[in-house]
């Protein structure tokens, strides 16, 4: 505070960087969107990539089906990246890319396009998310096993610190942990443990070279690590969480890595506020939720966000339109330019309540970090952390179902007028033109046909050679940039590495989730399941899985856990499944019902494809679908043969379970099946699943 006792800062603070997480359909369409967002006063870019790009597949890959251009922009090669950034001066722009498994590749494309614009890599500013541990824990868009994934990250950090010094090579994400159900303590502890695992890997990488100045470079690396956090609607505690994180971060820097420069010790973070708490019912209420969450990350100057992107009010309904995103940008602008928020020093300095809250969170977080350390660090502790998150999320849903945690409009104050916001023909959301996929497929094939194949082959061979040597001196980033320059595609780069690193399927965390104490409705449900078992001859068996590339598995996991707690045998098949995999599993497992969860907006293509594959395999079990399914799409899904559709408004999972029991019973009755379910092919079941959350466009 200044000497004249003025409560104000001598000069008003500059606002944080304002972004909108955006991208869809094609590079060209997204470029137009970016330019118009910048014209509206947005100060940085935040690129949303589609799921094939995030997981390393080209638009013509079988796994890309239904997903091209849906939750983000498809970028297959440097030509796409050039179109995406057309007319945007990369030397002046600050670009954040939500990209992880393929982060090295997308940064390489960005560097090559900057080169083409005449901008040297040392001038580039921005962030690649690049946090693979949280992909294993929460988001599911991983591509390679843990060890080589960490190697890619370490190489990339080592490269950028030297050659792209203004780049944030990694954003440690606590954001997705909260979306997956983390408590504030878990969010702090797992994010910090994650950062430690990354820093240790980089440290080892730096020691591999003949570096005398490892310590100096570690200081620089530490200073380049930024965080991507979440903020929920309990905004006072959420603010305390950020203060606790900045204290812990400085402590880790000083004590574990010997960092002393205060600039490097600063806890720098960007934020996207909570999508998990956004509701499909009375979606206008989400606006005030978003405003309050924005306060959590801006109120106190000592722990204020560097960059903010806000979700749109309609994310639980489908993909937001430019107008919806504009509304969220305007929230930021009102906060920064109309209010007096930026005129004061830290307004919580000296607050006993805030101090005590921070101390409580710190104590919990340190204890939880110790548990992760006992497991051998964040990489080894992935199964432990995953199970803990599934368990926290289960508790959260149980509180909402029981009405202990109030969600206005959903479990209380549910009476409502008809909303004019969703009254238009498309239900107030963005619909991606289904023709985009065919168009992108053709484009990538033309690109491959027209480039110099020999130099692409040579570049990919060089990439594979460096990848094969676990202790390679050469940085994977340099060969990646060479492949980008030569004209290789996203799918080719990832395939070359998959061939060397192998592929991987992450732990699911569902097996360890505790069964809840015997709630009454659960007991009734178990009796119904027991009666169904009598009817079927064996315990009702359900297959739960996620077709497509969408890795947001919270909803599917919660359905799986509840089905088990209801007394069913649950085959949890996890994420990233093709229709033929689901059909083969349903047949081999002999399930009575199949539950599919999908949040990426690709249900229109994928669900009918799954049903066709099931029927072709001779599986006639009913199929239930859950996810972010716009109301106007439900009829088409029913027509394709789906028995029931559940969306975020169906938060009562016990009711979903009862309906499934009825469905299976009716299906069995209709075919007079005993347990055998058809001698020739076996049987299978129907499905269901319904994520009680809504995190689709939010990375």
């Amino acid at each position: 505070m200044s000497g004249d006792q003025s409560p104000r800062l001598p000069e008003r603070d500059l606002p944080w960087m304002m972004r909108t997480y955006a991208g869809h359909s094609t590079a060209k369409a997204s470029n137009e969107l970016y330019r118009s967002n910048l014209a509206k006063g947005q100060t940085g870019l935040s690129v949303a990539f589609d799921l094939p790009t995030q997981t390393g597949y080209d638009p013509d890959d079988e796994l890309a089906r239904g997903e091209v251009g849906k939750v983000g922009v498809p970028i297959s090669h440097r030509g796409d990246m050039a179109a995406l950034m057309d007319g945007i001066p990369l030397g002046e722009m600050n670009t954040s890319m939500t990209i992880n498994a393929t982060a090295a590749w997308l940064l390489a494309l960005y560097i090559v396009v900057a080169e083409e614009q005449g901008v040297p890599e040392r001038d580039l500013q921005g962030t690649t998310q690049n946090d693979i541990i949280k992909e294993f824990l929460a988001r599911g868009t991983y591509a390679f096993p843990p060890a080589p994934s960490m190697r890619l990250i370490a190489d990339m950090i080592a490269y950028t610190v030297e050659h792209v010094p203004k780049w944030n090579p990694i954003n440690i994400c606590s954001y997705h942990l909260q979306e997956a159900g983390a408590t504030p303590v878990q969010e702090i502890a797992y994010a910090m443990s994650d950062a430690i695992a990354v820093l240790d890997a980089v440290n080892e990488r730096l020691r591999r070279g003949d570096e005398d100045d490892v310590q100096r470079r570690m200081e620089q690396v530490f200073g380049r690590i930024s965080f991507f956090v979440n903020a929920g609607v309990r905004f006072v505690e959420e603010h305390a969480k950020l203060r606790a994180m900045s204290i812990l971060w400085e402590e880790i820097g000083r004590e574990r890595y010997g960092v002393s420069d205060p600039r490097h010790l600063r806890f720098r973070y960007g934020v996207q506020v909570n999508s998990l708490g956004l509701t499909e019912v009375q979606p206008e209420n989400n606006v005030q939720r978003i405003v309050l969450e924005a306060l959590a990350v801006t109120l106190g100057r000592d722990a204020r966000a560097r960059a903010i992107q806000l979700p749109a009010w309609n994310e639980a309904l489908g993909l937001p339109r430019p107008w919806d995103q504009q509304w969220s940008l305007r929230i930021q602008q009102v906060l920064a330019y109309e209010t007096d928020l930026l005129e004061y020093p830290d307004i919580f300095a000296g607050s006993k309540v805030m101090e005590a809250l921070v101390a409580e969170l710190l104590q919990g977080a340190r204890a939880e970090m110790a548990v992760v350390a006992e497991h051998g660090g964040a990489v080894q502790a992935v199964p432990y952390m995953k199970a803990a998150l599934v368990e926290s999320h289960r508790e959260r849903i149980a509180r909402i179902e029981a009405g202990e945690q109030v969600v206005v409009g959903q479990n209380r104050f549910t009476e409502t007028e008809r909303s004019p916001l969703t009254a238009d023909a498309q239900g107030g959301i963005l619909i991606v033109d289904p023709a985009v996929e065919a168009q992108q497929t053709e484009e990538v094939r033309r690109w491959r046909a027209e480039r110099d194949q020999r130099s692409v082959d040579a570049a990919l061979a060089a990439l594979a050679e460096v990848a094969r040597d676990e202790h390679a001196q050469e940085n994977l980033m340099t060969v990646t940039i060479a492949a980008a320059r030569a004209g290789a595609t996203t799918g080719e780069w990832a395939r070359a590495l998959r061939e060397v690193f192998g592929s991987y399927r992450a732990p699911t965390g569902v097996g360890a989730a505790a069964a809840p104490p015997g709630a009454e409705d659960l007991n009734e449900l178990r009796e119904e399941v027991a009666r169904l078992q009598e009817q079927l001859g064996r315990r009702p068996k359900i297959l739960v899985g996620k077709p497509g590339l969408d890795g947001h598995s919270n909803g599917a996991e919660q359905i799986a856990v509840r089905a088990r707690d209801s007394g069913m045998d649950v085959v949890y098949e996890g994420i990233r499944l093709t229709p033929s995999q689901i059909a083969a599993s349903a047949l081999q497992e002999g399930v009575h019902v199949i539950g599919l969860s999908i949040l990426s907006g690709s249900h229109g293509e994928l669900i009918p494809a799954v049903i066709e594959a099931l029927r072709k395999a001779g599986v006639d079990a009913p199929v239930v679908v859950g996810g972010i399914i716009p109301e106007q799409d439900v009829a088409a899904l029913r027509k394709a043969g789906v028995a029931a559709v559940y969306t975020p408004k169906d938060f009562d999972i016990s009711r979903i379970m009862r309906e499934i029991v009825t469905l299976v019973s009716e299906a069995a009755g209709a075919t007079h099946n005993g347990a055998g379910n058809g001698a020739a092919t076996g049987s299978s079941g129907e499905a269901d699943s319904g994520p009680a959350d809504a995190s689709v466009a939010a990375a």
């Binding site: 096993p145 060890a147 199964p383 690193f501 192998g502 592929s503 991987y504 399927r505 732990p507 699911t508 569902v510 097996g511 989730a513 069964a515 015997g518 659960l522 178990r526 399941v529 027991a530 079927l536 001859g537 064996r538 315990r539 899985g545 799986a560 089905a563 088990r564 707690d565 209801s566 007394g567 069913m568 045998d569 649950v570 085959v571 949890y572 098949e573 996890g574 994420i575 093709t578 033929s580 995999q581 059909a583 083969a584 599993s585 047949l587 081999q588 497992e589 002999g590 007079h672 099946n673 005993g674 347990a675 055998g676 379910n677 058809g678 001698a679 020739a680 092919t681 076996g682 049987s683």
Partner: protein, 320 residues
């Protein structure tokens, strides 16, 4: 309408793998008409009907949670398929005591090609009975061994689990990860029977795995055992997988298969009888030794159900 058990059995005999899912549905069912069809299915595949033991290699794989069983199996199954061998995996997970339900999560961790007709993965709940593999799992392993080259039963646990799996498998492999001392303790204390092959996973962790393998080897030698202890790394670059497959084959080659299978069926029949009729029933037969003696007198080619019927017939005589 119940499935035609005899027809399904006949198809499995002819190594028609597409009959397997329906056969498993039938074997798992407790509905009365299905039980009769199940018996018909198994009768088609009894050693007496086949004229020999089913040729498939039944392998039990067990170990504590987190030891890396799923990833190891993913690699092993891939290798067997590459060798042209057909394979079936019965992945057994525990059932919740509170709800009776189960979460069968293995499928999510194992890579498979849906177009590959030579690989079957079936997740199975252990069921409510404490101790022992559920009868349908034993019956399933037996039936599938007539059609597939390799049948794996995977269970979770340390200590007792591998004795249960030994009741049905030709070869038992226990999987442990480096740094877990339990197995060593269990072996020394005699809680765990000595498996046929010991596998230390996560060799990519470096010296830790080698040390663990050496410690286990030393402990086993002090117990007078010379079973192979192998280290493997299942994640790419995988190594040790081919050696493990060879060790499993070698164990099987050294077996008196007819003797081991006959013993497994007798143990299974006894376990089933005990689960159904309890200690009282056993006592009525004159105790476990008398029951074993009775089983020992039977034709060794009888299937498990037929053996159990013999025990129950004796029970009826004694109590009737």
């Amino acid at each position: 309408m119940s499935a035609d058990g005899a027809a399904l059995g006949a198809r499995l005999r002819k190594r028609d793998l597409t009959a397997a899912p329906a056969a498993l549905n039938l074997l798992e069912s407790s509905a009365a008409p299905d039980r009769a069809q199940s018996a018909a299915l198994l009768a088609e595949l009894s050693p007496a009907a086949l004229g020999a033991e089913p040729a498939g290699h039944v392998i039990g794989v067990t170990g504590p949670p987190g030891a890396g069983k799923s990833t190891l199996l993913s690699a092993l199954l891939g290798l067997w398929r590459a060798q042209g061998r057909t394979a079936a995996l019965l992945a057994v997970d525990p059932s919740s005591r509170r709800s009776g339900g189960s979460l069968l999560g293995d499928r999510a961790r194992i890579e498979f090609d849906p177009a590959d007709a030579g690989l079957l993965i079936r997740s199975t709940a252990a069921g409510e009975r404490l101790g022992g593999l559920a009868a349908p799992t034993r019956a399933a392993a037996h039936a599938l061994a007539a059609a597939f080259d390799v049948v794996v039963i995977e269970t979770v646990g340390t200590g007792q689990a591998e004795t249960e799996i030994a009741e049905v498998a030709d070869t038992v492999a226990v999987v442990v990860q480096p740094g877990s001392g339990d197995v060593l303790q269990f072996l020394k204390a005699g809680i765990m029977e000595i498996p046929d092959v010991l596998v230390v996973t996560k060799a990519d962790l470096g010296p830790l795995a080698g040390n663990a393998a050496r410690d286990l080897g030393a402990a086993l030698r002090s117990l007078g055992s010379e079973i192979p202890v192998l280290t493997v790394s299942s994640l790419s670059p995988a190594h040790g997988i081919e050696e493990l497959a060879a060790a499993l084959d070698e164990h099987r080659a050294g077996l008196d298969l007819a003797e081991r299978r006959a013993r497994a069926r007798r143990d299974g029949a006894l376990a089933e009888f005990a689960a159904e009729h309890g200690e009282l029933g056993l006592r009525a037969l004159g105790g476990r030794p008398a029951a074993r003696a009775l089983l020992g007198e039977q034709d060794p080619r009888l299937d498990e159900a037929a053996l159990r019927t013999q025990l129950e017939r004796r029970l009826d005589e004694r109590t009737g």
